[in-house]
């Protein structure tokens, strides 16, 4: 079985632009979570979706949004990019969203 897949792997954007990151969970997993990892720090929780409903949201501005599709894949959208949005964005899937998270390889976003 394929693990958690994320695309693209790397991305360079200009300040003010919009970006969409994509994640496909492990087959059978119904929960997808998004995390932001700034260089030198631990990942920070952004969103969790379970069965297409938002279950949790971290302390991020409204420029960050996400959704989950009927096939349980997910998109993370960030509007009006700032230099500080440069980070590794990680997606995690789990069967129920309560434990046993498996992470993808991440999307490395650079805002210039």
């Amino acid at each position: 079985d394929a693990g958690v897949t994320q695309s693209p792997t790397h991305l360079i954007k200009t300040r003010g632009q919009h970006v969409t990151l994509r994640c496909s969970p492990i087959s059978g997993h119904k929960s997808v979570s998004w995390y932001q990892q700034v260089l030198g720090q631990g990942p920070q929780f952004i969103f969790q979706y379970y069965e297409k409903e938002e279950r949790g949201r971290g302390n991020f501005p409204d420029r960050f949004s996400a959704r989950q599709f009927p096939n349980y894949s997910s998109e993370l959208n960030v509007n009006a990019l700032l230099l500080g949005d440069s980070a590794l964005y990680l997606c995690a899937s789990s069967l129920t969203g309560h434990y046993g998270y498996t992470f993808g390889s991440g999307t490395r976003l650079t805002v210039v």
Partner: protein
């Protein structure tokens, strides 16, 4: 929110040495996981261990939930063990809170 503290922040070992990494957390948790982040950024799940002891090869982990700490043991370390080790806990069942990590360097 819940606080997660990891120690030491940095650790340098010679190949073959043993080590213990510690994770303290400030509240009762439903979930605790140890991860290894490789140089390419991939977070590899090592253990799901909200309580008790588990072993997987040269790695083992113990969580004492009543005292709010977890330990990760690495025996006979290898250069491929290098990377950042994260402890992450889940209080509410919907999100992981990560510590700042332990940067491990194993020299040949």
């Amino acid at each position: 929110g819940i606080q997660v503290e990891q120690s030491p922040p940095d650790l340098i070992l010679q190949e073959g040495a043993n080590s213990t990494l510690r994770c303290n957390f400030s509240d009762s948790v439903n979930n605790l996981q140890w991860f290894h982040q490789n140089p390419w950024g991939q977070l590899i799940n090592l253990f799901y261990i909200p309580s008790g002891t588990k072993q997987n090869g040269r790695l083992s982990a113990t969580t004492v939930a009543t005292e709010r700490y977890s330990l990760l043991y690495i025996s006979s370390s290898q250069t491929t063990d290098s990377g950042v080790y994260f402890c992450a806990v889940d209080l509410s069942g919907s999100r992981l809170t990560f510590g700042e990590g332990t940067q491990l360097t194993v020299n040949p």
